[in-house]
Symmetry: C2
Subunit: 250 residues, 2 copies
């Protein structure tokens, strides 16, 4: 995908360094979390809801999702995960995982022990603050989706998903423009937006008929981002941060 990728030894450090400049020591400490690697095929499950989970992960390559199953068999996708994301933090505090982690494409993940987190914080308190900041950005993304599911139309939710996926794809791959492969089935889009696959199909068609998007060969083109964002109540949560209060490294 578009030339050489600079392969850092810590994907998570790359994400955090978008927030503040990291010191060499901090980088090296983060690299320890990604010493081990595990390859996964599309469809493979890394962690299953209600099963013991002793590890956390950094996603190094690929695309994953976390979801829960309700007892009528329906599925709610909670979050899509991109390279550099830390996975399984919320499950790590329970005896049994709160959500399932599943690969949507061939992936590379780096597993690490829960205690590695406390160790990290003990030696690098500023990283503790940054990890908290990272999890809170996720929290705001989750509450945005909560509001979307609770209070917006089917069309708005689908539009919001398209915008969000595109901007998160671009965060890891600058070459992504307004045309991209979404890499999800309509069923998966439905499970993320709280809709049926049938209705997702209708909403995509409607967005297409209104000239907001185009579709061809599994690729989506965002034709009118302004109108999409308006239809979707979309806010990019990676902008507008204020981290000036985080102390300089010692």
């Amino acid at each position: 995908m578009g030339g050489l990728e600079s392969v850092s030894s810590s994907c998570f450090a790359d994400v955090l360094s978008e927030l503040v400049d990291l010191t060499g020591n901090e980088r090296r400490a983060l690299e320890k979390l990604e010493e081990r690697q595990r390859h996964m095929r599309r469809g493979a499950v890394l962690q299953r809801e209600n099963e013991p989970c002793n590890e956390l992960f950094v996603l190094r390559k690929g695309l994953m999702m976390s979801y829960v199953l309700l007892d009528d068999g329906s599925r709610q996708i909670l979050r899509f995960h991109f390279p550099g994301d830390m996975l399984g933090v919320s499950s790590a505090i329970y005896r049994e995982a709160a959500e399932t982690l599943c690969a949507l494409a061939d992936c590379v993940v780096c597993p690490f022990d829960r205690s590695a987190l406390s160790d990290l914080f003990a030696e690098h308190p500023r990283l503790a603050t940054l990890v908290l900041v990272y999890t809170q950005i996720e929290r705001v993304a989750l509450t945005d989706r909560l509001a979307a599911l609770g209070r917006t139309s089917a069309k708005a939710r689908v539009a919001a998903l398209l915008l969000d996926l595109r901007s998160r794809l671009r965060a890891t791959d600058k070459s992504v423009t307004n045309i991209f492969a979404l890499g999800l089935t309509q069923e998966e889009v439905g499970d993320a937006t709280g809709l049926t696959a049938v209705h997702v199909n209708r909403m995509l068609r409607q967005l297409e008929e209104e000239g907001l998007i185009a579709r061809e060969g599994g690729k989506v083109t965002l034709l009118d981002e302004r109108a999409l964002a308006r239809a979707a109540n979309y806010v990019n949560r990676y902008e507008g941060l204020d981290l000036a209060w985080i102390p300089k490294p010692n």
Copy 2:
């Protein structure tokens, strides 16, 4: 409400000490976050969406909620906040608040500066881990609601709200039984569950007709908690924790 309340000098420390035993030093450090107090009347706004927010808060007394407004004017309540909760963490990382914090009853809150968090983590790394654990319990509660809004019926959402409110009330006040005042209008229940006030009313009536709850004088009685939990896919997220990996204090 039911006798003398043990007034600790840090409500948040009380919450964390449900997770692990705190040292005297840790407690004293947490007390610093609650040195200042501010009283608020029911309906008062502590922080408004899209306005600058320089502070975080610990809720010491009362009941609050956080919500967002969509541009069609509808409201989504994100979370109810009880004594001992830390508020405004996610907004503190932005220049402008991501959500509004509003008092549902007369409240006492303790404001503190964002930098107090980094300072706390620098001196007490174990508290950094505990704060992370605290925010992740909240995360799981949010994803439970995300799944409820996306995939469950109106009746299930209302039932889940009743169960959740009761168990969280009881967490701060052990005298709460299966009968309690919910302290919310049906409109507020609707804004939390993604329903209209009218439909909330019908769902409450239906739960009543089915013998799952009783209502009288603004108080709700949970008559059949088992059946309610079944109807609601309810999981108590304050159980099942595993924090044995957190190191002992030095």
